[in-house]
C-alpha cells in the first residue's frame, strides 16, 4: 500500500478521464442523421452525388460484368499477362494455396519481364497469406506494400482497413470487384465452398479515376507519387457508358458512401434492387426505404441466408426486418451459397459494383471502392443475374418471420446490432 494525497488521486483520475474523452471524441462516429431532400429522379441527384463524393461523372467508358470466379479470374490473369508497363493491384483478402499462388506467380512472372508491379495488400485481410508467397513476388521485383501493418505505433489505426479491390493495367484498363484472392471465390457460386461475386472490367477515361484511388494508399504507405503518362494516360472514349468512382474516405464527417447510398435510395422512382452480403440498415435507411415503397417503388433486397461468413452481422441486420417487411420491402435470403457481391440497381439505369457492404464498417471505418455505371444495358445484365439468383432464394414473408422471431432470436438480434457498428 502507498499513501497519496487525495488531490493527487483526483488529479490522476481527471487526467485519465480527459485522455479517454479525447480518444473517444477522436474516434467516435458523430451521430449523423442525414436529411435527404426529395429529388425528382435519380438523374437529377447524380451531379450532387458526384459532387459530394468528389468525383465526376465521365462519359465514354466501356464496362464488362464479370460474374463469379469463373469469369473473373481468367479475365484478371489474362490482363496480367497482357500488361506492358504497369500493374497495380489492391485487395483485402489474399490467402495462400491454389488460386492465391497462381495469381502471385502471374504477378512475379511479369515483374521479372520488366513490368512495374505494385501490390497493396491489407495486413489484416491477408493474415492467412504466407510470408513465402510475398517473398516470391518481392524477389521477382514486385513492389508489395501491406496496408496498415500491425505495429504498436499504429495501434490507433488498427481498426481501419482497406477493403478496396482494384486492379489497373497500364493505366488504361481497370477492374473493380468484390472477390477476394482465395479458393472460396472460385467456381460459379455453386455451393457454400464457392461464393457468388461480381466484378467489372472498365475501359475509357474512368480508368484515370480508378488509378487515382489506387494511388491514394500507395502514396500513404510508400511515399511514392505515381506521376506520368504511364500511369495517367490520356484515354480516348471506349464506349458510351457514363461512370463515376465511389471511393470512401471515412472519418471526419459524413461518409461519402453512406451519403451516396442514401441519396440513391431517396431518388429512386421505379425499382430498387440490392444484393449485399452484409446489410445492417440504420433507422434513416429504413425510413428512406419505406418512403420509396410508399411512392410506388418496387424494393427487393437479397441477403445471405444460412450460408454466411458472419452470423453476427446477419443477425444484426434482422433488427429492422420486421419493419421493412411490414412496409412492403421484399426480402430474399439466398440459400445456395454466400452471395458476396455488392450490387445496387436503380430504375434500370444506374448500377453499383464494388466492395462496399451496407453496414457501418464499410460506411464509416474501412476504405472502400466502387463504381457507379449509368447504362441501361449494364443494369439489365445485373438485373438478369439478380433474377437468376432469386431462384435459389427464399422470400421472407411476414407470418413466417413472426414465427421465426422467437424472443430468444430477437434478443440475439438485438445483441448483435449493439456491436454492429464495428462489424
Amino acid at each position: 500500500m502507498v499513501a497519496i494525497p487525495i488531490w493527487l488521486l483526483g488529479g490522476l483520475i481527471f487526467l485519465a478521464l480527459l485522455l479517454g474523452l479525447m480518444l473517444w471524441t477522436n474516434l467516435r462516429e458523430r451521430g449523423f442523421h442525414v436529411r435527404v431532400p426529395d429529388v425528382a429522379s435519380f438523374e437529377e441527384a447524380l451531379p450532387s452525388i458526384a459532387g459530394m463524393t468528389r468525383s465526376v461523372v465521365q462519359p465514354g467508358n466501356s464496362a464488362e460484368i464479370l460474374q463469379n470466379g469463373d469469369e473473373f479470374f481468367p479475365a484478371l490473369l489474362d490482363a496480367i499477362a497482357r500488361a506492358k508497363e504497369s500493374i497495380h493491384f489492391e485487395t483485402y483478402v489474399w490467402w495462400t494455396g491454389d488460386i492465391c499462388d497462381e495469381v502471385a506467380d502471374a504477378f512475379a512472372k511479369r515483374a521479372r519481364e520488366g513490368v512495374e508491379v505494385r501490390l497493396t495488400i491489407d495486413a489484416m485481410g491477408s493474415m492467412k497469406m504466407k510470408q513465402h508467397l510475398r517473398d516470391r513476388m518481392t524477389e521477382a521485383g514486385c513492389k508489395v506494400t501491406r496496408y496498415h501493418p500491425l505495429r504498436v505505433i499504429d495501434i490507433g489505426q488498427l481498426n481501419k482497413r482497406t477493403h478496396r479491390k482494384l486492379a489497373i493495367f497500364d493505366g488504361k484498363e481497370a477492374f473493380i470487384f468484390g472477390h477476394g484472392i482465395s479458393r472460396l471465390w472460385l467456381g460459379h457460386g455453386q455451393d457454400k465452398e464457392h461464393w457468388r461475386d461480381t466484378g467489372v472490367r472498365l475501359g475509357g477515361p474512368i480508368v484515370n479515376a480508378v488509378q487515382s484511388v489506387f494511388a491514394q494508399h500507395w502514396i500513404e504507405e510508400t511515399g511514392e507519387a505515381l506521376v506520368g503518362e504511364k500511369y495517367f494516360p490520356h484515354i480516348e472514349p471506349a464506349g458510351d457508358i457514363r461512370a463515376h468512382v465511389l471511393a470512401g474516405a471515412p472519418l471526419g464527417g459524413v461518409s461519402d458512401l453512406e451519403l451516396m447510398f442514401k441519396v440513391a435510395i431517396a431518388s429512386v422512382q421505379k425499382e430498387l434492387l440490392i444484393q449485399n452480403p452484409y446489410f445492417i440498415p440504420d433507422s434513416g435507411t429504413v425510413k428512406l426505404l419505406r418512403k420509396a415503397v410508399e411512392r410506388g417503388v418496387k424494393v427487393k433486397i437479397m441477403v445471405p441466408g444460412a450460408i454466411s461468413d458472419s452470423p453476427v452481422v446477419r443477425h444484426a441486420g434482422h433488427c429492422h426486418f420486421h419493419e421493412l417487411l411490414a412496409h412492403g420491402v421484399r426480402l430474399f435470403e439466398h440459400q445456395k451459397t454466400l452471395i458476396h457481391q455488392k450490387i445496387m440497381i436503380i430504375d434500370g439505369m444506374w448500377s453499383h459494383v464494388g466492395s462496399t457492404n451496407l453496414d457501418d464498417r464499410s460506411f464509416d471505418i474501412n476504405e472502400e471502392a466502387g463504381v457507379g455505371l449509368v447504362d441501361e444495358g449494364i443494369a439489365a445484365q445485373l438485373k438478369a443475374a439478380f433474377e437468376e439468383d432469386l431462384k435459389s432464394c427464399v422470400e421472407i414473408d411476414v407470418p413466417a418471420w413472426k414465427r421465426q422471431q422467437t424472443p430468444w432470436h430477437r434478443a440475439f438480434d438485438k445483441l448483435c446490432s449493439m456491436v454492429s457498428w464495428q462489424l
Partner: protein, 437 residues
Amino acid sequence: MATKKARAPRRPARTVEVTYWSVALYLFVLLALGLLLWSARREHDSHVKVVPPVVDFRQDLPSIANLTGSPILDGNRAEVLQNGDEFFPPLFRDVEAATKSIHVETYVWWKGEICDRLAALLAKKARQGVEVRLTLDAVGSNKGKNQLFRDMQKAGVKIAWFHPFRLADLGLVNNRTHRKIAVLDGRIGYVFGHGIAEEWTGHGQDATHWRDTGVRLEGPVVNALQGVFAENWVDTTAEVIAGLKYFPRLPAAGTVRAHVIASSPQGGVSKLELLLKLAIASAQEELLIQNPYFIPDEELVALLEAAVKRGVAVRIMLPGPVTDSSVVRHAGHRFFEELLGHGIHIYENQRTLLHQKTMVVDGEWSLIGSTNLDDRSLDINDEASVGLIDKQVAARLTQAFRDDLASSKELTLAGWRGRGLWHRTVDRFSYTINEQL
C-alpha cells in the same frame, strides 16, 4: 514543499491508501490511452517522399489532377479579383442577383462595416425567399457580433457553425475550416483568401488594409465547388444539398481549364501537400509563390533547390514586418539561409500583410485559394483552392507579383547571415512549435 515564511505546522494533507497494483494498473491505462490517442492522431507516415522527376508540367497535369482528386474541367471563365476593392463589389452584385441559393463558407467573420453590409444583404435575400446558407468556422469567426448572426437567422439565413466547442467534440477542436468559397445559384463560384473583415477592404495600401486575391468562376467547375461547400454543410447540419437547383448542368462559359483541390485532414496524404510538391517538381521555367505563411519542410526545400538547379527561376514573396503571426514568420526562417544559398529569391513585402495564397508555374498554371504553406493548412485544416490552366490568368497574377515587388525588399544571403543572435533564437524556437501554427 518548502515554505519561505515560518508558519504554524501544516495540517497534513488528507491521504488515501492505494495498493501498488492499482497504481500500476492506472499507469498502464494511462499509457495505453496516450498511445492510442497519439497513434490515432499521428500522421500515418503521410509525407510525400518520392516525387519522381517530372518531365513536363503540361504533360503531367492529368497525373497531378488525378492524384489530388481534382479532375480538370474544361470550359470555364475565370476572373482574378485583387484585394477588397475588386473582390467585394462583384460578390455583392452576384449575391444581390441570386434567385435560388446563396452559399458562403468562410473562416474569418469579424466586426465592421463590411460585415454589417454583407449580413444585411444576406438577410434581405433570405427574406426574399432565396435559400441562404452560411458556414462559419467557430474559432475563426468568434469575434463576430452575435446580434448580427441572430438577425440573419431571424431573416431566414441558415448558419452552420463548423466544429463549435463541445465536450463531445473535444477531439475536433484543432480541425478548422479555413475554406473561403461562395457559390451562387449553383452557377457562379468564388474562391478567395479574403476574410469578412475591414482588414480585407481597400487595395492593400497600408498595414490595416491587407493584400489578397480571389477568383470569380463560371462554368462546369462551379459544380465541383458546390460539392466542396456541400461537404462541410452536410457534416455540420446533416442536410444533404442535392438536385439540379444546386448542381445545374453548366454549359461552357469560357476557355479556362480548372480544377478544385479541397482537402480534409483525415484520410492519408494531404492532397494540397501533394499538389504543391508535384507542381514544384514539375516547374520548368518560372515558379512564383505569394503566401502569408511559409514554413517549408526539408523535402519542400530539396524540391525548390532541384528546381533552381534545372534552371527554374524561383521567386517567393512573403510578409515582412507587417504580419499577423510573427511566430509563423519566424518559424519560416529556418531554411532561409539554405534557400538563399541555393539561389532562390525571397522577397518580403514592406507595405502591408500579404495575405494572398497564389502560385504560378511556367506562366501556364495558377493556384488561388485559402491554402497557406504550413503544416496547419497542409495537414490539419479544411482548405479549398482552385487550379487554373490559362495563360491570361497566369499573366495577370505574374503582373500582380511584379507590382508587389515595388513595395518589397529582396533578402540577400549576406544580409541574412548578419541577423542578430536574438532573431536566430526566436527562429529556432518558433520552428519547434511550427506543426500547430
